[in-house]
């Protein structure tokens, strides 16, 4: 299976995503240059973290106009899997691949820490390797992670099981204490109605090795492998 990892100017987790795919999964990966109209036959597209265009104006606002995003949108429309992580989530929202928007953290400060999230829907392309309600620990590192949408949209994604991850506290509850950025309904990750585009603020690609603190991200990549390969 081949993963295409988009490099926008200012992407800085493209390398981590590449290493995750190649070293931890043993799969093939290519960098997709933002100026090219070519996914190079990628089965899965990763929109990685970072600060595309410096996150100037709004996180993800400028990157979504990159030439390669035409092909990414086409790929998504055909049902191809897209994994948006952190800045990739922000870009996916700006591009309309996912609903809502990601605003400045409520604390107004960047937050970098290992954080607990609960798997809210283990029946997706990206989460079948987890159990429903499983509490996992992933690093976050962002300044604009407060997921926001109007109530109707929130009700709709919640009602259709499209909230995939929620921030939780030590007791596993989605409380304000467990919410690192003020996200509506503690949302850490959502999926589109086609079930093939996921956006999440935590970094699964940074959680693949116990040496670095957690390997709770492995199941996410393995879920994709299992489903896409099948």
């Amino acid at each position: 299976m081949k993963f295409g990892i988009v490099t926008f100017p200012g992407s800085n987790c493209d390398y981590d995503a590449y290493r995750a795919v190649v070293d931890s999964l043993g799969e093939a990966a290519v960098y997709l240059w933002h100026k090219n109209h070519d996914l190079q036959g990628s089965d899965v597209v990763i929109l990685p973290g970072g600060f595309s265009y410096g996150d100037y104006l709004r996180a993800g606002a400028i990157a979504r106009f990159s030439p390669v995003m035409h092909e990414v949108a086409e790929h998504a429309r055909r049902g191809g899997p897209v994994l948006g992580i952190c800045n990739g989530f922000q870009i996916a929202c700006e591009a309309g691949l996912l609903p809502g928007a990601l605003l400045r953290n409520e604390s107004l400060r960047f937050v970098s820490a290992p954080i607990a999230v609960r798997v809210e829907n283990a029946n997706t392309l990206f989460t079948s390797g987890y159990a429903d309600g499983q509490r996992i620990v992933l690093p976050i590192a962002h300044g604009d992670g407060r997921f926001t949408a109007d109530d109707a949209t929130l009700d709709e994604i919640e009602g259709s099981g499209r909230i995939v991850f929620r921030y939780v506290d030590d007791a596993g509850e989605a409380t304000a204490a467990g919410n690192p950025n003020g996200s509506s309904r503690n949302i850490a990750g959502i999926i589109n109605d086609g079930g093939n585009v996921i956006g999440m603020m935590p970094h699964p690609e940074r959680a693949l090795d116990r040496l670095l603190g957690s390997d709770d991200g492995l199941a996410l990549f393995e879920s994709m492998l299992a489903r896409v390969a099948a």
């Binding site: 100017p9 200012g10 800085n12 987790c13 390398y15 981590d16 290493r19 995750a20 973290g49 970072g50 600060f51 265009y53 410096g54 996150d55 100037y56 400060r109 960047f110 937050v111 970098s112 820490a113 690093p139 590192a141 300044g143 970094h203 690609e205 940074r206 693949l208 090795d209 040496l211 670095l212 603190g213």
Partner: protein, 768 residues
């Protein structure tokens, strides 16, 4: 030599103008002698920048020459943009520390951000990919609005810049002390990794090779930043406000990628950051290193504003710019690489055979200097040095007689007081704003003793730390210099790493004052001694002088940035206790050494006494013993004793990891002639707190190295509490109170209700 005439509109060269450029009458004479004529305004500007303290090291060069700089693993010592050491497997580590104190005092956010940007460029211009950032920060009290403004702004500036470029900020140190009230210190360190064969030096070579300006356009910002960094902070600094430069980390990220690609392409000969004194210093230094002449046409430099003069273009410190010497005929290849990263490039000059440094504006020569004398002829000073008798008296004071406060009856009160002082308390409020995990190599991030990064493709890791105790250095500069190195080494060793080499940032006051020059001289001597004893040569550094405000000089603060190597990932050791039941071993001797301690300063408001002795042979032996014990697999955790002494070190071992707090039961046994408070809060050097399931093995190793070690107690579950018996004294606390004191202190001080206003942007002018 060409004919050089004043440019229409140039101000006349008067003694006042010369003085405004920071040149002494003697220095001006030297300049005239070198030129054989009067300088033009442009030339005066060039020399004022290159002969500023910041660029020329005129007061420190003679002292720096005494530092040890060689070892078989040192590939590049001082003299380049960054030092480079080999770590085996064909890999090398480039690293350097630099100050951005004065810009951060004027605008903490931009000052700190651009400091990070500058040191990043110093590392990637060596051909190394930056893999980690550290910092070392000093502020006045967080009780003052200005202290909070500076601290908050600096932390945000460091975070926003490093996070955006995508380099993890993994460690550092932060100290709050009134000595820094008028003049904060902001030192940033960058560490990069490379294949040895990619090492490139900033040396212009090859007559006819083009000189290319790369990156951001040149604006009017930061003109004369280098000379600004070379004077005391005063009211007058306020009027120099436009000197603040705005950083653009996004462009920096593009520059980083493009530069590494350029270096690997083989199309270029040399590359250097346009940092302090901008185009002037980068071009002059590259020419001097290569022993060639250069000619630069300022009319070819891409500018941001219309009507910029040669003077302004040469001295601008606009950020995110590089100077490249390419192989002749490869200009279009160079341009293609830069265009890929949306970066502009302009050929602005050429390497020439004639030994001159020449600047033209179109066809007109606007500045010309003979050969490399511009750099090499710069004045050197070894001013008078004399210890301040007041400091000598403070050091001689007997502090053991200071009566304990009534509250100290309960040593738990003292411990809680220390744990909640911002200098000792958890710095998570700051480092949670730094992305510490990007690039997925961070094994131990901020919060531990030293940061640890794995080296992909090997079974190795590197350990990194910055350290200094300014109070010790104030009381005894030589001992303070030694301890800065020793403490950095101990921190690195606690993770299982062998200390390899250091970079240093010497933050001192005005060197023309004999008592300051004395501090500088002695501290450098102490650093040198420790580097020899610990086999950690100096590979580079930075000198920041004139750190003074109307309150006086800062504490002399020689910050050490150390790199160590861990041979095997299995040896990576953490600082916090892991398992209840493990024994606690204290390695090293405890004396009754309260002089210069955090305890005296915080609880008694006293800065006096001799700082703890630093016996370098013992330091070396203790480090060797610890590393051996770690390698033999018997060490569960290791932490060094520093600020706040043994009691604080033990508490940190219990509460440092919030997800796994532990308690302990410790009996210090017979204290001999050491007082209980000396045993608990004294800061004797050369000590480690180690937890181990096999303490006998640890002690056997220690014995082999002749290092004292004894079991002082055991790790307990957190519910069992925290108990230390020190002679007559019993320290009892529940673990949660210790943790609350330690973790809540800085967040409480920085709560949003305590925001600063614009008044806090003005430096407090004491005595003025």
């Amino acid at each position: 030599m060409a004919n050089v005439n004043p440019r229409p509109g140039d101000p006349a060269i008067t003694p006042v103008l010369v003085a405004e450029h920071g040149l002494t009458p003697g220095e001006y004479e030297k300049l005239v002698a070198m030129l054989g004529r009067m300088p033009t305004f442009t030339e005066l500007g060039i020399v004022s920048a290159l002969w500023s303290e910041h660029c020329s090291y005129k007061h420190s060069r003679n002292l720096l020459k005494t530092l040890p700089t060689t070892a078989p693993w040192v590939l590049q010592g001082p003299g380049e943009n960054a030092g480079v050491i080999s770590i085996g497997d064909g890999l090398a580590v480039a690293f350097k520390i630099e100050s951005h104190n004065h810009p951060s005092a004027v605008d903490p956010y931009q000052g700190a951000a651009t400091g990070v940007g500058g040191i990043l460029r110093d590392v990637f211009t060596m051909g190394a990919r930056p893999v980690a950032m550290l910092n070392s920060l000093r502020f006045g009290s967080l009780e003052s609005a200005r202290g909070r403004y500076l601290f908050g702004g600096v932390v945000k500036g460091i975070g926003d810049y490093g996070n955006c470029v995508g380099i993890p900020t993994v460690g550092g140190e932060i100290v709050f002390d009134d000595a820094y009230e008028g003049n904060p210190l902001v030192n940033a360190m960058c560490v990069g990794l490379m294949h040895k064969e990619d090492l490139i030096r900033a040396k212009a070579e090859g007559v006819g090779n083009p000189i290319i300006a790369v990156g951001a356009r040149t604006g009017r910002d930061g003109i004369h930043g280098a000379s600004f960094a070379s004077e005391d902070l005063s009211e007058a600094s306020d009027a120099k406000r436009p000197r603040v430069q705005v950083g653009d980390p996004f462009t920096e990220k593009l520059l980083l990628e493009a530069s590494l690609e350029l270096i690997r392409s083989g199309h270029i000969v040399a590359i250097q950051d346009m940092g302090a004194a901008g185009l002037t210093s980068s071009s002059a230094e590259m020419a001097e290193r290569g022993d060639v002449g250069v000619t630069i046409d300022v009319a070819c430099v891409p500018v941001r504003e219309k009507g910029m003069t040669p003077y302004e273009i040469l001295l601008s410190e606009s950020q995110e710019r590089m100077l490249v010497v390419a192989h002749r005929g490869r200009e279009s290849e160079v341009r293609a690489i830069l265009a890929k990263w949306d970066l502009a490039a302009a050929v602005i000059g050429e390497v020439i055979a004639e030994p001159v440094y020449r600047v033209t504006e179109g066809a007109t020569v606007v500045a010309e200097f003979p050969g490399s004398r511009l750099v090499t002829d710069c004045p050197r000073y070894s001013p008078e040095s004399r210890e301040d008798p007041e400091v000598a008296a403070l050091r001689a004071a007997d502090v053991s007689g200071i009566a304990p406060l009534p509250d100290e009856i309960d040593p738990a009160w003292t411990l809680l007081t220390l744990l909640s002082s911002p200098t000792i308390a958890s710095k998570a409020w700051a480092y949670r704003q730094y992305d510490s995990t990007v690039r997925t190599n961070t094994v131990v991030g901020p919060g531990g003793d030293a940061a640890v990064l794995r080296i992909r493709g090997t079974n190795k890791a590197i350990a990194l730390k910055t350290d200094c105790n300014g109070r010790y250095t104030y009381l005894d500069p030589r001992v303070g210099g030694r301890i800065a190195v020793a403490e950095a080494a101990r921190n690195v060793a606690c993770t299982g790493a062998r200390p390899l080499a250091i970079t240093n940032c010497l933050n001192f006051g005005n060197p023309r004052r004999p008592e300051v020059f004395h501090q500088l001289k002695e501290a450098i001597a102490g650093i040198g001694e420790a580097c020899i004893a610990l086999s950690t040569p100096v590979t580079g550094g930075n000198v920041s002088l004139y750190n003074e405000s109307p309150r006086g000089a800062v504490y002399p603060t020689p910050v050490i940035g150390m790199v160590g190597l861990i041979d095997s990932l299995e040896h990576i050791t953490r600082s916090t206790f892991g398992t209840a039941g493990d024994s606690i071993v204290l390695i090293g001797d405890t004396g009754d050494e309260l002089g210069g301690s955090e305890y005296l300063a915080l609880v008694h408001g006293v800065v006096a006494g001799a700082p703890p002795a630093c016996d370098l042979k013992r330091e070396r032996a203790a480090i060797d013993a610890l590393l051996d014990a770690i390698a033999s697999g018997h060490v569960a955790s290791a932490h060094d004793c520093s600020d706040g002494g043994l009691a604080v070190a033990l508490a940190e071992c219990c509460i440092g990891d919030q997800s796994n707090p532990t308690g302990l039961d410790v009996h210090l046994g017979d204290l001999g002639d050491v007082s209980p408070r000396g045993a608990l809060f004294g800061e004797s050097q050369g000590r480690f707190v180690v937890s181990s399931p096999a303490p006998a093995s640890v002690m056997r190793v220690a014995e082999r190295y002749g290092v004292p070690a004894r079991v002082i107690g055991s790790v307990r579950p957190a519910e069992d509490g925290f108990h230390i018996k020190a002679g007559e004294s019993e320290l009892d606390s529940d673990v949660a109170s210790l943790a609350a004191a330690y973790h809540a202190a800085i967040p409480a001080l920085m709560s949003s209700e305590r925001l600063w206003s614009n008044a806090a942007r003005q430096p407090a002018l004491v005595n003025a």
